[in-house]
Structures are given as C-alpha cells and as structure tokens.
Symmetry: C2
Subunit: 96 residues, 2 copies
C-alpha cells in the first residue's frame, strides 16, 4: 500500500468527519422526541463494538485520525445506547 497522496488524505478526512458528525442530529432528534422505539438497540450496540474495534485498530497502526474519529463516534454511539435504554424503560413503566 503506497502512502496516500494529499487528495486521498483530503477525501479520507471528509469521510471521517461525515461518518462521525452524522450521529449528532440522530442523538438530538431522539433526545428532543424523548422516545426511541424505532431506534434499533442492536444497531447501536454492534456499531459501538465496531467503533471500539476501529479505535484499537487505530492504536495498533498508530493512526491519529482513526483514533480521533472513532473516539468521538464511540461516545456518540454509546450516548444513543444510553438514551434508547432510558426511554424504553420509561415507556414500559408508563404503558405496563
């Protein structure tokens, strides 16, 4: 694998920014609606495991962009897991 050119680095940076920033509006939406039954807990649990694995991968290959992007994404993904568990518990208490 050759060292990426500046264009690859630019495209990679845009990619990392988008796939990290994308989670912010989803967190905000669920937090504002205070409900989450359409959100898949499995998605965000599996995604969190994947992001943790990317973080370890970044540490192993010593890639700061991989570490940084996945550290932030892991935080946002775990926030979604926390909101989902919290709102689902609240819904069960209200309806059951």
């Amino acid at each position: 694998m050759s060292i990426p050119s500046w264009s690859a680095t630019l495209i990679g940076s845009i990619a990392a920014f988008c796939t990290t920033a994308a989670f912010v509006p989803q967190v905000v939406r669920v937090w504002r609606l205070k409900s989450s039954e359409q959100i898949s807990l499995t998605m965000f649990l599996v995604f969190s495991v994947g992001t943790l694995a990317w973080l370890v991968y970044g540490l192993l290959i010593r890639s700061d962009p991989v570490i940084l992007a996945n550290g932030v994404t892991l935080g946002l993904s775990l926030t979604m897991v926390s909101l989902k568990v919290n709102y689902d518990r609240r819904t069960r208490r209200t309806t059951g």
Copy 2:
C-alpha cells in the same frame, strides 16, 4: 505508517464487519414498524456522503476491505434514506 500485523488486520476486519452489519437491524426495524419519525434524515444523508467518501478513499489507496465494507454500508444507509422519505411522505398524506 508500518504495515499492520495480523492482529491489526483481524481487529480491523472485526471493526469493518460490525460497523457494516450494524445497519441491518435498523433497516429491518424501520421496515417492520413502517414508521420513521424518530430516525434523523440528516444522519443518514451525512452518513451516506461519508461512506461514499470512504469508498473513494478506498479506491484511491487501493484497499479492497475499505471498498467492500463501505460499498455495503452505503447501500444500507441509502436504503434507510429511502425508507425514511417514503414513510414520512405516507405519514404526511395520512395526517395532513
């Protein structure tokens, strides 16, 4: 950046598998519930742009795992965009 050892490759493969497979239960959940107002369209649009950029990055650095993982994730993310637009239009037609 040194060439990743087998352990980094293994962790990277687990990471790629998880962050791709994670979208399947979310697609299934929204498809079964036939509603998506808690899903953020912005999230899946920005995520699709990001995944497309990762795909281009994979082509530029000639990394088959990056190309493969992000090709599949892009398909799943665009499926979410399509379901969201479709169900939101249906909801507006019913309520408005």
